[in-house]
């Protein structure tokens, strides 16, 4: 079974649609949304609607820090993120916010753990930006594969039986064998706001049968997504960064 892994949609409808289409073309049958459905982008309701519909058909969706923040818990957000949250919170209906509030913090399926930030103290939303944080997360779970998002930059960590942690920068499209004798932490890039210098929308496909994980990049209509954000009056950085992927 091919599982599409979509993190950090951030209300970018154009990017989300492009990723879903690409995943369908590549045989995805199962959908996992790894949090931060809203925040930053101009289409929180439309993105949430897509995720909700998927969940009614068996998809998994978990909570991100922005999904939490629209309900008032603004944990360590910078000024720009806060401005986006204020706007998003005003746009979403009480019912939509309630749906976001009830999303689980993590989900386990088979030997996989899905969580937004890290398996270690997920409620504190730590950023996995290096080996230390990756070790913390890997030590906090027994899962063979942990999949998360939150940092907007794809990376693949693995822990050997010898206790050695290593990081790999995924090459787009390469199907990486998730060797069963190691434990893995896959950080997905962002669907809706990539920051690794590549503006294309990022997501992943986990092939449970082949035991491989592919990081994929999808071009999408950045101009439209950016223009919508500009129209909201949110800080310029939020639409400008989309075209450079930073």
């Amino acid at each position: 079974m091919r599982v599409a892994l979509l993190a950090d949609i951030h209300a970018n409808l154009e990017a989300l649609r492009a990723c879903i289409a690409d995943a369908r073309d590549n045989g995805a049958e199962r959908w996992v949304y790894l949090g931060d459905i809203v925040g930053y982008g101009a289409d929180p309701s439309a993105c949430l609607e897509i995720v909700r519909e998927a969940c009614e058909n068996g998809a998994i969706a978990i909570k991100g820090n922005h999904d939490e923040a629209v309900n008032g818990t603004r944990f360590r957000l910078n000024q720009i993120a806060l401005a986006a949250i204020e706007w998003t919170s005003a746009v979403l209906s009480a019912e939509e916010k309630d749906y976001l509030d009830k999303l689980p913090m993590s989900a386990t399926e088979g030997n996989c753990l899905y969580v937004h930030a890290s398996a270690a103290k997920p409620e504190a939303w730590p950023y996995i930006v290096g080996l230390d944080q990756a070790v913390d997360s890997l030590n906090a779970t027994q899962a063979h594969l942990t999949v998360c998002g939150h940092v907007h930059t794809p990376a693949l960590y693995n822990l050997a039986v010898t206790g050695k942690i290593m990081v790999h920068t995924p090459v787009t499209g390469t199907e990486i064998p998730i060797l069963p004798q190691r434990r893995w932490l896959a950080v997905m890039g962002a669907v809706g706001q990539p920051r690794d210098g590549n503006p294309a929308a990022a997501y992943g496909i986990w092939d449970t049968r082949a035991g491989t994980l592919a990081y994929r990049r999808v071009p999408y209509d950045i101009d439209t997504a950016a223009a919508k954000i500009r129209g909201t009056g949110l800080p310029d950085l939020l639409w400008r960064r989309l075209s450079v992927g930073r």
């Binding site: 290096g130 210098g197 400008r240």
Partner: protein, 489 residues
Amino acid sequence: MATPVLEIGTLLDGFTIGQRVHKGGMAHLYAVTHPAHDIPMLMKVPVLHEGEDPAAIVSFEMEQMILPRLSGPHVPRFIAAGDFSVQPYLVFERVPGATLYARLPDLPLPPAEVAAIGAKVAAALTDLHRQHVVHLDIKPSNIILREGTGEVVLIDFGLSHHAQLPDLMFEEFRLPYGTAPYMAPEQVYGIRTEPRSDLFALGSLLYFFATGVRPFGDPQTLKGLQRRVWWDPIPPRKLKGDIPPWLQEIILRCLAPNPEVRHPTAAQLAFDLSHPDQVRLTPRAEKLTRDPWSARIKRRFHPDSYRPTLDRQKQVSAAVETAPIVAVAIDLAESEEELVEALRTTVKRVLVTVPDARLACLNVLKTNLLAMDQTLDKEGHNIHVQRLVELKHWARGLDLPADRISYHVLEAVDATDAILDYISSNAVDHIVLGARTSAMRNILGSVSGEIVQKAPCTVTVVRKSRAGMKTDPSASATPSTSVQERAAI
């Protein structure tokens, strides 16, 4: 995890175990059959003993990742793999034919035969390199001449590097892995990403096959291995007079310590070996003595002499002497995203004005912050890697070719001293760095003033736009920079 004994007749995932055909230090090979596969097959089973060298496991994992992705006539066809939960194994085609190891009693071989073998191996390497793999263990016992076609098949990818997959061998081990007589100097220094390492190994094999003597012997110590960086072998024609100059030219070029001097690709080496009349002869084609002592001493001790340098991100080719060097000091603190952007913009502008400039990206890792930590070595090392990853990430937008950019994490107690030291010891022509406003999270802020004062080169200090990013949305996203410059002393 101990290795279970695989008896003849044992059934494993449908494969019937036959004779053990090879017993190695890292793995055993068994002949196997399977009703669904109608070709001769081998099963490779790693040698696993509790508490012993994990290289056997890691090398087996690498081969499990790489072999299934390879295709074509120059590799054995992959059939199946079993994971570590029951019995790790790899099953692949048993290639009919003997390895070149079987030819050792016949050495030295006639030059024409040596060149023909070399051309076949180089063709196989071309195909392998095209598939993003550097073999890193080219030697007679890993090369089979396929019965019938006579084509070369390369086997044993346990030490190989795949450019698109995690390099488990590199991450796990600090010591170089390879086979002593054939290992390229850069491989001795831990570099695993250089396809031309395979050309060096092939050159060593061709030297051995043409003369009957190994060019660098079979050293058993790291120091002995490192000697090949400066110690040139006796020219093959001195050992065997019938070796033509063109073959000596090719072999000695393969054995150049600096990969930049070797044939750029395996395809070009294959071309030379098959077209002797096209080989451009240099003085090394005719030489009959090793380089004089003075030259060897210079290669060994002179600071300008070639040394393989391990950059954990990417092997960066040697500096172009005449091109100016621009350095940029970057603090990667997340909060200063706008300043980091401004730095990139300024560097872009500088590079436009000097098209052949090289860029050195610097980041200072303050070691005193870690001094209290009990796991200083391990922790410091990990942060170092992360900083390099971030530097490279920062530089991606510059679109510079690899030979024009390098990344350096300077571990130092004092950032100013570290940057000034780098500037002088590397003859930097121009340093770009950011000015900081927030006092607490600032590593470079107090630094920039002092560097402007002391650096013996041009200094550009970049500030983030005072108006932030909210100015005119139609303007380009480049913040203004204020520039202070100072002529080189």
